[in-house]
């Protein structure tokens, strides 16, 4: 296992054969466990928004969920900024500040439960005229080898419980997180960049001349390029700031701002990752040929020859 906990507790490269289970016996065992009242417990119940598949996959990779965590930030946007020329720096700053603050709160919640990071983070951003709202929701996780807080304690960048001082935030699903670990990589943070640009108006003469033409509106095209470059640059810089080597699963949103004519927004985000193994490990997927062919319906008439159909 790496210092970051990749592959904790389990050989992620092998395809060991698990014993075939008698599910009926397991079901009976489960039913019997509920037949007697459980002893009173003051244990802190684990909460998680992972599906059964994801939880099992995470367990198989040697990690366990700890708690459903969230981070919300609402940042104000000053009046009148949407209608000024060039880059709308205050809106871009508000957007990035809201994401940073929400991620900070999310990491704080993760640290409280001694998590090493948050996976499956759902990112929701809504841009309003006077404020930008960001919500991040995910599940805090840790390697099972750190269950008792002993492993990793005292390591560089780790607290007394072995949890890192700066937990990672990743919008990768548990499936993608597990695959990433198998390939020798580790998520290190959420990379985010946003930019809003005001597209300059055409002059009245230009607008009249172009009215009946098929013509590219270069003011919008250039504004879009400008917004894209700035947002992508910010995203990559934020990845480097958290120690990432690159960003995977980049998502982009782009387009006009609904309430501000001539304003164009571009947002890019993904998970910053870094290689923690000596070299990238190819996961060697097995090729499968599904037999459930999509062509399952046909016209019975087509079985007859053309001559038969005519006759």
């Amino acid at each position: 296992m790496s210092a970051n906990g990749a592959g904790a507790g389990t050989d992620l490269g092998g395809h060991g054969s698990a014993p075939i289970r008698d599910v009926r016996a397991e079901m009976l065992r489960g039913a019997q466990s509920l037949a007697t009242p459980a002893p009173p417990s003051r244990a802190r119940g684990i909460t998680s928004d992972l599906s059964v598949d994801e939880a099992l996959l995470l367990h198989t990779a040697g990690w366990e969920p700890l708690d459903l965590v969230c981070g919300v930030a609402v940042v104000s946007v000053p009046l009148g900024i949407w209608n000024w020329g060039g880059a709308i720096a205050m809106a871009s700053d508000a957007h990035n500040a809201a994401v940073d603050q929400a991620a900070r709160v999310l990491r704080g919640e993760c640290s409280k439960v001694h998590g090493h990071g948050v996976v499956g983070v759902r990112v929701e951003v809504s841009v309003h005229t006077h404020h930008i709202d960001v919500e991040l929701v995910g599940t805090a996780v840790r390697p099972m080898s750190h269950k008792n807080g002993a492993a990793g304690a005292g390591a560089a960048g780790a607290g007394a419980d072995g949890a890192p001082d700066l937990p990672f935030v990743s919008d990768l699903s548990a499936r993608d997180f597990t695959l990433l670990l198998r390939a020798g990589w580790m998520p290190v943070g959420l990379a985010f960049g946003a930019c809003f640009v005001y597209s300059p108006r055409r002059t009245a003469g230009t607008a009249i001349r172009q009215k009946s033409q098929n013509v590219e509106l270069t003011n919008y095209t250039e504004a879009m390029y400008s917004a894209r470059e700035s947002a992508m640059e910010k995203m990559q810089r934020s990845a480097l700031d958290v120690g990432g080597e690159g960003v995977v699963e980049v998502k982009v949103t782009e387009g006009p701002v609904s309430f501000a004519r001539h304003a164009i927004g571009f947002t890019a985000w993904g998970t910053a990752v870094k290689l923690v193994a000596e070299a990238h490990c190819f996961v060697q997927p097995q090729m499968v040929l599904p037999l459930d062919d999509a062509v399952v319906t046909f016209e019975a008439e087509s079985l007859r020859s053309a001559a038969q159909r005519r006759g």
């Binding site: 395809h15 509920l34 998680s48 969230c70 609402v74 000053p78 009046l79 009148g80 205050m90 997927p285």
Partner: protein, 324 residues
């Protein structure tokens, strides 16, 4: 709750809710009893889920349901005077144990209309009403299942919807009651329940997690903005007027949103009694009642499961590429 030692649910017990006919909810309607006594089973399971259910040793008994329609107490515009806590300048008691934060104006007295203080306030009466309706519908579904001698209810689906223009909310539960072949009834006789069915339920059992109950909670936080929140949320900063303050974190709104989510998690955790919650879904609805007056309702629901054996990892899945 299905097992005998469950903590009390928020709000009064379901049998405290009276039906339209005025009687207690202890008995099923006569027509329902006749239908359920028929010598055939019904199920809401898909064919693959049905097959997986049989494979797991679960015998479907009947499609069981529970309903409850609740009228909500008035807490719309104008209700603030009676529900809001006392002004921090006067002093006063909030609902004991409930979340509350007050924000004071930094400007001193300006005018009677000035928002000299603001508050984020948990609304236990809203939460209790929701828990009462949700709990009553859930218990009625389990009652149907229990009457049939079922051990559990799988593939539970619930829906909370507003009955239009009547100020009421309908809670509806639906699931397939099952018995475990050769298995003992759950402690206390109340069936266990889960949103899962089919292969997902099988995988959960294989991994050592037995469903206990579906759990859900609503957290409601009302926010009355104070002057600074109002200032920022309505474009404070005045860009272009030579007095730019730039973007600022709107602390009160951010904290109100966080509180609604944290309270929902806290309420759900109180129902877990040390068990785990899997497959949680979180939903947030924000309603603006008037300027600077918002209600944030957060619903959290999921499967309460109990570990009945030590961790038993499933086989490491093989990555595949589909040739098609």
């Amino acid at each position: 709750m299905p097992v005998g030692d469950e903590p009390a649910r928020d709000g009064p017990p379901p049998d405290a809710v009276t039906s339209a006919a005025g009687g207690p909810q202890g008995d099923l309607p006569e027509a329902a009893v006749r239908r359920l006594e028929a010598d055939s089973f019904s199920s809401g399971l898909s064919v693959p889920d049905f097959a997986a259910c049989l494979d797991l040793g679960l015998q479907p008994v009947a499609l069981v349901q529970g309903f409850c329609v609740m009228q909500w107490g008035w807490y719309g515009p104008g209700s603030g005077a009676t529900m809001r806590g006392m002004s921090p300048y006067i002093g006063g008691q909030q609902t004991p144990g409930a979340y509350s934060e007050t924000y004071r104006c930094p400007h001193g007295y300006i005018s009677a209309e000035h928002r000299s203080w603001g508050q984020n306030l948990e609304q236990p009466w809203v939460q209790d009403a929701w828990a009462q309706g949700y709990g009553a519908a859930y218990d009625r579904m389990l009652e149907e299942a229990g009457t049939l001698g079922a051990h559990g209810v799988i593939g539970v689906a619930d829906r909370v919807s507003n009955v239009s223009d009547t100020g009421t909310t309908e809670f509806h539960f639906l699931g397939t009651a099952v018995t475990v072949e050769g298995g003992p009834p759950p402690a206390g006789g109340t069936p266990w329940s889960t949103y899962l069915a089919g292969q997902r339920l099988t995988k959960s059992i294989e991994a050592g997690f037995m469903p206990v109950a579906v759990v859900a909670a609503l957290a409601s936080v009302r926010m009355w903005a104070y002057c600074m929140t109002e200032y920022y949320m309505e474009g404070g900063g005045m860009a272009g007027w030579g007095n730019r303050t730039g973007p600022a974190l709107v602390d009160q709104v951010s904290k109100a949103h966080m509180a609604s989510r944290q309270l929902a998690r806290k309420h759900v955790r109180q129902k877990l009694a040390g068990d785990e919650l899997h497959g949680a879904t979180i939903g947030v609805v924000t309603r603006k009642l008037s300027s600077g007056d918002e209600v944030i309702n957060c619903t959290l629901r999921g499967n309460r499961v109990r570990r009945f054996k030590d961790f038993d990892p499933v086989e490491l899945p093989t990555p595949t590429v589909r040739l098609s």
